[in-house]
């Protein structure tokens, strides 16, 4: 078994699930869960090797011309992340298999879920930037399908579109960033890039590469101001939120930042950008979560806040910060997955997710309440759950932050207080308190729905109780992977009485007080929201899309207006401007026209042609105009004769004669002559005609002036009789030297004839 095989198996599962779901019925989720579970066990078995310092790699040649391989790279960080992806994935499969029962197209749903799982796993174990990008985009697409699952609802379609546009935009920036990043290395292999930060950091590509990659990471991980797609994505079914929007997809951006920390990190710019955006997101997310009433939206905003925390920690980059980031990543995945699944359960059992319409559920589902309660304890950062260790480390990281310590501590404190507040709220307002009248009597969630939350909370508890024995070996190598020069902290639950512990206690106390006075809190928060935070990002985004469409529509009308004459005019005007520019760019125009050498009879013909042209333009009679055109044609034929082009002249006369006769015949069918255009329009048309005519004239004269080479016609003159056995050079050219041209032209005539035939045929049928 190999690292890439797990990804492949999950992709196969994605293909198989839609076809087999209907035969497996209720068992489908359990059976499909075997795939991620197998992967989980496999990656777990790699842990000893990884902890011994080994990096497991695999490479398949893919686009050899550019040295792009399909390659895998599993180090401590990769293995930790894949355990999260596959571990939670296992339970999600079970959960989704049961949760989706009442809905149509479950097979497709589970297939997309498996596809997502495969691509998410692909991101965290890929060893090549391009391999990673392929999986990165696949998570966007599968998440689009999952968010839009209830696709007949307009808001689900819109949420899916928003998420895809935001992450798609990020993806485009990211590929640009990857290309720039790879230029100094000449390869996309992570194993090369990660070991040599100097190459990019000393290059002037560093800043653009960094900015583009950050756009990619920030959009995916819902950083302010791109955060709004995540709450919108709550339109997805709960299994999706529990998986994509808590533990996995939204963490992809964080993963990327951590993964590239050794090569991009350590600079001032990196630190400033990450801490600023991270801290802002952290606070904004926490703030916005206070007033939410939809369980899933509360969780979504706290997720935004948590993602901000992670970005902030990675940006800080100190020993404590990196350790805290790794632990908090794991902590958050465990409790947030649980909470989202529980939110789904509550909705399923009661028919609502609105916290103001919930209460007193403890007596219906005591076990579920305990599970959710423990997850909330972890979220609040209270011992003995892993969340406590995570929060302690975060505070410690802030204490030792290189700059802006006070601001960061205050921001973290505020965020954590809000988390404690929400923990109280989510437990007591849902399970305790007065019981509203439910539409149907709530029941305890069944095994498939509760097993996932239970095991995730259990993991939180075990890791929290045995930090040194279990949590440390799981995470220490991950710390080294993303920051090779710092040491991993041995995790402990008891740090002695110190400032951090005091801060923790103060946090819990403040959070509790906040919950006690929640009514006042809501009033204040609402006031502030109305006064200062009125901007609804998702609506702004919608309106900007709409106004772009209006703009596009207007511009399209301006360009593709439907008036044929203006299309032609544009073509002619632009063409003349371009050609005139080229003439003007060349050396001064020298027009060698030697009138004295021109025979008098030809001058007469030319004068005649010009006069005829003028009368064709000005005449008010179609017949006169046609006759004048005929004069032009015959005049040109005479010029051909004068230069001994007899064949050409004959052809010209035939064509002209035929044209005039046909046109005359058509004249009979036309309505009476009338002038539709005003003088201004005619002047304008005249100007365009002069522009085009003049550049043609200048170019033809120039061609005659600057002869560069001997014309090939000399060869024709020479060989026509001696080798091609024809006295008439024109004929020989047509049927021998350039016979292929003639073949083509004959074909053109055949095709035209066929066209006329079919036109007549259709007209006939219509008349009948």
């Amino acid at each position: 078994m190999s690292t890439g095989l797990v990804v492949l198996l999950l992709i196969i599962l994605a293909g198989v699930a839609p076809l087999t779901r209907r035969y497996l019925k209720g068992m489908a989720g359990w059976i499909y869960a075997v795939f991620p579970f197998g992967g989980f066990v496999y990656y777990l078995s790699l842990l000893p090797r990884i902890n011994a310092g080994e990096v497991i790699t695999e490479r398949f040649s893919w686009i050899p011309v550019y040295g792009i391989d399909f390659s895998f790279y599993v180090d401590g960080f990769g293995v930790l992340f894949s355990l999260i992806v596959l571990g939670i994935g296992t339970f999600i499969m079970v959960y989704a298999g049961y949760y989706m029962k009442p809905y149509p197209m479950k097979g497709r749903f589970l297939g997309y879920l498996a596809l997502f799982m495969a691509s998410m796993l692909g991101i965290v174990v890929s060893g090549n930037l391009i391999t990673m990008f392929v999986f990165w985009e696949l998570t966007s697409i599968s998440s689009f399908m999952l968010i839009g699952y209830y696709h007949e609802k307009p808001e689900a379609r819109m949420a899916a579109l928003h998420a895809l546009l935001i992450t798609g935009f990020g993806g485009l920036a990211l590929i640009g960033g990857f290309v720039l990043l790879a230029i100094p290395y000449g390869t996309y292999e992570l194993s090369v890039i990660l070991t040599d930060p100097a190459a990019i950091q000393n290059s002037n590509l560093y800043v653009p590469a960094l900015l583009l990659i950050l756009v990619g990471a920030f959009t995916k991980s819902a950083q302010f101001p791109f955060h709004f797609w995540l709450p919108g994505a709550m339109a997805a079914p709960s299994p999706v939120s529990a998986y994509l929007h808590s533990a996995t997809m939204v963490k992809a951006g964080v993963f990327l930042l951590a993964r590239l920390n050794p090569v991009l990190g350590g600079t001032d710019l990196w630190m400033i950008l990450l801490t600023t955006f991270g801290a802002t997101t952290m606070v904004v997310g926490a703030w916005l979560s206070i007033t939410q009433t939809d369980l899933k939206r509360i969780l979504a905003y706290t997720t935004v806040s948590a993602l901000g925390t992670l970005v902030l920690l990675i940006g800080t980059g100190t020993k404590y910060a990196i350790n805290a980031a790794i632990i908090f990543l794991l902590v958050h995945a465990l409790y947030k997955g649980t909470l989202f699944m529980m939110a789904g359960n509550i909705e399923k059992m009661t028919g609502t997710r609105d916290i103001t319409k919930l209460g007193g559920l403890y007596k219906y589902m005591p076990f579920a309440a305990v599970v959710m309660g423990l997850a909330l304890v972890s979220m609040a950062g209270i011992p003995p759950l892993l969340g406590f260790i995570g929060k302690e480390l975060i505070y410690e990281a802030k204490m030792y932050a290189p700059t802006a310590r006070v601001v960061l501590i205050a921001a973290s404190f505020f965020t954590n207080v809000v988390l404690v507040f929400l923990s109280f709220r989510l437990f007591f307002d849902v399970f305790k308190g007065t019981e509203p009248s439910y539409e149907k009597k709530p029941a305890a969630p069944s095994l498939a729905l509760i097993i996932g939350p239970f095991f995730l909370v259990l993991a939180s508890l075990v890791l929290g109780v045995y930090p040194t024995a279990i949590a440390t070996p799981l995470t220490s190598q991950a710390v080294l992977s993303i920051s090779p020069f710092i040491e991993a902290i041995t995790l402990k639950i008891w740090h002695g009485f110190n400032l951090v512990l005091g801060l923790s206690a103060l946090t819990v106390l403040s959070g509790y007080l906040m919950y006690r006075h929640k009514k006042k809190v809501f009033i204040v928060a609402d006031k502030l929201n109305i006064k200062y935070f009125t901007r609804e990002f998702s609506r702004t985004f919608t309106t900007s899309i709409d106004s772009f469409l209006v703009f596009a529509k207007g511009q399209t009308k301006n360009l593709q207006h439907g008036y044929h004459r203006f299309y032609l005019m544009t073509v002619f005007v632009v063409a003349s401007v371009l050609v005139w520019t080229m003439i003007w760019r060349a050396d001064p125009i020298i027009l060698e026209i030697n009138f004295s050498e021109m025979p008098l009879n030809l001058v007469a013909v030319v004068v005649l042609i010009i006069a005829a042209a003028l009368s064709a333009v000005t005449s008010h009679s179609r017949v006169i105009a046609l006759v004048a055109m005929g004069v032009i044609g015959f005049g040109i034929a005479i010029i051909f004769i004068a230069f001994s082009g007899t064949d050409l002249a004959i052809t010209m006369i035939l064509v002209e004669t035929l044209m005039i006769i046909l046109a005359m015949a058509l004249l009979l069918q036309l309505p009476a002559y009338k002038i539709y255009s005003d003088t201004g329009a005619r002047m304008r048309d005249g100007l365009v005609a002069v522009l085009v005519g003049s550049f043609m004239m200048v170019m033809v004269l120039q061609a005659g002036t600057s002869q560069l080479g001997e014309p090939i016609s000399e060869f024709f003159k020479e060989k026509s009789y001696t080798e091609a056995f024809g006295r008439n050079i024109v004929n020989v050219i047509l049927v021998d030297f350039r016979a292929l041209d003639t073949l083509g032209e004959i074909t053109v005539i055949a095709i035209a004839a066929l066209g006329i035939y079919s036109m007549i045929k259709f007209t006939k049928n219509k008349q009948v």
Partner: protein
């Protein structure tokens, strides 16, 4: 061998003209002939890939005097892609185009078109190129008007007149360049242009060529004919056009740029980059506001042609290779989206997103057939559109062309938007109440669309080997001496 891709369509056309009424024969023969054409093209490609450029002198008249046919990698890649697209359209057509059109010369006209296209790919002579353009355009004129509905005629008037203007410019440019240089053979002209120190006014002639080709490739601001006409004929015809016509213009532009842009190279590059940027962004903007599937896709053709010009204008081996790969991808993916749009029409009786809906639920297979090429156009990996864009971005950044590359990246987002718009409206939205009665989707159309979708996926998955060939082709394009030497000897 090199003449076969021209002669086979000619013979097929002649045979088909005289057997118009035997419908089944027409259908079977056309399919077999396109398969044969593909086999020939593939053989040529393999041959050229191992043995290098092939040339023949028609009538055995030596190089600058007679007409040269020349097949290099670029030409053979284009031949192969075109003939494959033709196979697909031949499978698709019987179940889609009405019997009346099929017996009124549809099949011979398709072969007329193919003859012209293939001739344009293979010729090494400027005037001969013009002739193939005429063959191709005349066929397309008839095809676009075939059936003679009022809408078709309105569209084809615009198409035909603007195309004629292009032809006038084209043939004038030939006359002027010939008058000045005395040669029509492309290799000879390219060679001589590299020997003359000073070539006054040659650039104005080249500009005239450029205008002609950019009208045919539908570049900004010469694209009007395309959105005005492409949505009018049956979609099988549009699909064929989308896969071949504008790409011939691009192909010729690559050829001319490689061979004849000797003087003032920086100007030409900058000029083309500006045109490319405008073409891709304006095309995609116009597509976003449309509601007819065929119109969205038609405007997108314009935008995507901009990408190809971008790769050409940067003119490094990597960027040209990217442009070639992108062109191949676009010929397949774009044709595929049109064909998928046709399936929607067969099923629901409309192309208008306002009257469509619910296809994701009722026709999952059809949904996949649209989703694959649409996501390919939007540049989602591992589909070829992604690689096309990625190679272009790579080529652009490596060459230090940051502005155009940034534009290309942004345009990708709007492409995604348009594709999702079709998806959300036609597939995801609830079926509107006043939707016309659902019709049956014929087997042939499904098979053809699926075949092409499979090819699209394969082009992405096997991007490695395909890119290898494109890269080798780009090496030939960027070193024109190889081409010149193949025709003229040392």
């Amino acid at each position: 061998m090199l003449i076969a891709p021209i002669l086979l369509p000619l013979l097929s056309m002649v045979i088909l003209i005289f057997t118009r009424r035997w419908l089944v024969f027409q259908q079977t023969f056309s399919l077999l002939a396109t398969i044969m054409l593909t086999v020939i093209s593939l053989t040529l490609l393999l041959d050229i890939n191992t043995n290098g450029i092939i040339t023949i002198q028609m009538g055995s008249w030596p190089a600058p005097y007679g007409i040269t046919l020349i097949g290099d990698l670029l030409a053979s890649i284009m031949l192969l892609t075109t003939s494959f697209v033709a196979i697909v359209v031949m499978i698709y057509s019987p179940g889609f185009i009405d019997r009346e059109r099929q017996t009124a010369g549809y099949y011979p006209l398709v072969f007329g078109l193919l003859m012209g296209v293939n001739g344009a790919f293979l010729t090494g002579d400027i005037f001969n190129l013009y002739v193939w353009y005429e063959v191709m355009l005349t066929s397309s004129f008839v095809l676009i008007a075939l059936g003679g509905s009022a809408e078709q005629l309105r569209g084809s008037v615009k198409y035909v007149t603007i195309s004629f203007v292009a032809s006038i410019f084209f043939v004038s440019a030939i006359g002027i360049i010939y008058g000045q240089t005395g040669t029509l053979n492309m290799a000879d002209l390219a060679y001589k242009m590299r020997t003359w120190d000073d070539m006054p006014y040659i650039n104005s002639g080249l500009m005239l060529f450029f205008i002609a080709f950019s009208i045919k490739s539908a570049l900004f601001p010469f694209f009007f004919w395309l959105p005005a006409s492409y949505h009018t004929p049956p979609v099988a015809i549009t699909a064929l056009f989308a896969g071949t016509l504008t790409k011939v213009g691009i192909y010729t532009m690559i050829r001319f740029f490689s061979l004849f842009v000797v003087q003032d190279v920086v100007f030409w590059k900058t000029f083309l980059l500006v045109i490319a940027g405008l073409t891709m962004s304006i095309g995609v903007m116009m597509a976003a506001s449309q509601f007819d599937i065929r119109k969205i896709l038609s405007f997108h053709i314009i935008s995507q042609v901009g990408y190809m010009v971008m790769g050409l204008a940067i003119f490094t081996v990597n960027s040209v290779a990217a442009a070639i790969y992108f062109t191949v991808h676009n010929m397949l993916s774009k044709t595929n989206t049109f064909l998928a749009g046709g399936l929607v029409y067969q099923r629901s009786g409309s192309y208008d997103l306002k009257y469509l809906g619910g296809l994701y639920k009722t026709m999952p297979f059809l949904a996949i057939l649209f989703f694959v090429p649409a996501m390919s156009l939007a540049g989602i990996p591992p589909l070829p559109g992604f690689f096309g864009k990625f190679f272009l971005i790579k080529g652009g950044f490596e060459a230090g062309q940051y502005v155009i590359t940034a534009v290309a990246i942004l345009v990708g987002l709007f492409t995604l938007f348009s594709m999702i718009k079709i998806w959300n409206e036609a597939y995801w939205k609830k079926e509107p109440d006043d939707m016309p009665e659902p019709g049956p989707v014929s087997k042939g159309t499904l098979v053809a669309t699926a075949l092409l979708a499979a090819a699209v996926v394969a082009l992405g998955v096997f991007a490695g080997p395909v890119m290898e060939v494109c890269h080798a082709a780009a090496l030939q394009v960027t070193s024109p001496e190889v081409y010149i030497e193949a025709v003229l000897g040392n």
